[in-house]
């Protein structure tokens, strides 16, 4: 272990900024957040960073460590390569100060997701088998660190797409609802026309950075894309629906349930 830690932390706000270099004695077993806290305590009391649980479960301390979105509290210093460690704010979201970004874009998108719409409650209550809820449980592990949103090039490199792109975090929410056996809404046309599912070109970066190891692309986005194909691009599926008269709530009805 090196005797000294060199950390280059982004300091600045919406008017601009630059990396500031801090040198500290190395301590065994530290994570990046520990070092940031030591910088705050000893060298830069005004360094802004968002954190809460220090256990990888609150999703607050997302940052770009050596250029890759990671949770500061789950990134061990001894597992980073030799040399200065670079810590920058998430690039996709507007900066507030230093390492703190304004992630309210995500909360605005969240309002667009038509909520769970079960059928009228039957006598004796709803009953579900374990096999029916297993798929959706994976998506419930999301801690909303928004690193998948940050790394997704659709909005990371193309700000204009934010107006019509929900992003990976919300695609897993859509998938959770679409796959729910008791849900009656049909969100597929909404996904296709308004939420930008077609903008995703499945490069799997969201899956790579997910700290909860949710298989976002394989288990949520691609299944949603296939469901959208069922609804919009597959004439055989359309014929099957027409003959069998299968219908969920219309997209308008589904969207109207959103706030």
């Amino acid at each position: 272990m090196a005797a000294e830690v060199v950390m280059r932390v982004w300091r600045g706000d919406s008017s601009g900024g630059a990396f500031a270099e801090y040198r500290l004695p190395a301590q065994e077993g530290e994570v990046v957040l520990d070092v940031v806290h030591r910088i705050q305590a000893t060298q830069a009391g005004d360094l802004a960073c968002r954190w809460n649980c220090k256990a990888g479960k609150c999703g607050s301390c997302s940052a770009e460590i050596n250029g890759t979105p990671r949770l500061m509290c789950m990134t061990r210093m001894d597992q980073l390569p030799e040399g200065p460690v670079t810590v920058a704010p998430m690039r996709t979201f507007p900066i507030i100060r230093d390492l703190v970004t304004d992630v309210s874009f995500n909360f605005e998108v969240a309002k667009q997701v038509p909520p769970f719409a079960p059928p009228p409650r039957p006598e004796g209550g709803y009953r579900m088998a374990q096999v029916d809820i297993e798929r959706g449980q994976e998506f419930c592990k999301c801690i909303e660190c928004f690193m998948c949103q940050d790394v997704c090039h659709v909005i990371r490199d193309h700000e204009e797409n934010k107006a019509h792109y929900a992003g990976p975090r919300f695609f897993i929410r859509f998938a959770e609802l679409e796959m729910h056996p008791l849900d009656t809404n049909d969100r597929r046309e909404l996904l296709r026309q308004r939420e930008g599912l077609g903008l995703c070109n499945i490069t799997k970066c969201c899956t790579e950075v997910c700290p909860e190891h949710i298989k976002i692309t394989d288990n949520a986005i691609i299944p949603l894309k296939e469901r959208v194909v069922d609804a919009a691009y597959d004439p055989v599926a359309w014929l099957g629906r027409t003959i069998l008269r299968r219908r969920k709530a219309s997209p308008n009805e589904a969207a109207a349930h959103g706030r």
Binding site: E64, I222, K225
Partner: protein, 274 residues
Amino acid sequence: MSVEGATITPVRLGGVRGGPAARTLRRDRWWVQPAISAVVLTAFVVYSTWAVFVNKDYYVGAAAHRDLISPFFSPCITASCVAGAHGTFLVITWWHITPALLILGGPLGFRLTCYYYRRAYYRAFWQSPPACAVADAHTRYTGETRFPLIFQNIHRYFFYIGLIFNVILTIDAVMAFRLPGDGGIGVSVGTLVLVVNAVLLWTYSLSCHAARHLCGGHVDAFSKHPVRHRLWRLLTPLNARHMQFAWVSLVFVALTDLYVRLVASGAFTDPKIF
């Protein structure tokens, strides 16, 4: 169906991004993976194009006591196919250029629209993005929402076509157990090559995301569809290895063609095992 006029909350945009303007701050060798993808895919395209247009040495027939056909040329359905290579059910007489061109659209379309290959070539060639957290090489991006990339959505139809080819190549592998004029049935290295090729193509097809959706992924209530649920559970672990199957089957199909080509050209004799 339309969602025009639906009352959904618009997303407020604005604010100034922070952090450095650099293309990436990554210090690892992020370019290695897209570079390897680009090299392997380019090598495959160059080799297969050459193999298709050279239009010879794709079949080892009775004269060599074998029945081996290259996967690039199977099914050989034109009258111009070398003697013994084509089937009897369908023989097209009006096609005069290389017979492989007539059939390669199916497997090619299946691979081109495959969810895994899309990731590979979007990264390797289109640089959109070249790697995670490395800036996109393009200033404008519309994804798969417009022509021509909107046609990626017909992947499932290419999956069906791919299954037909898998059946044909499986029949080829079974027929390769015949050693004409050499004692009926036996096994040669060529037989094993065709069998492994067919098995790899099946694993690639069955691990496909469209297959996983069509066999049961589209179902919401698995408890009401136990057969589909069982199929879905069967394909899910295969699907997790789709990338590996995609690469191995791609390379092996070229190696199979190369093996048949070398035997057919007389470079060496296909060794008989028993």
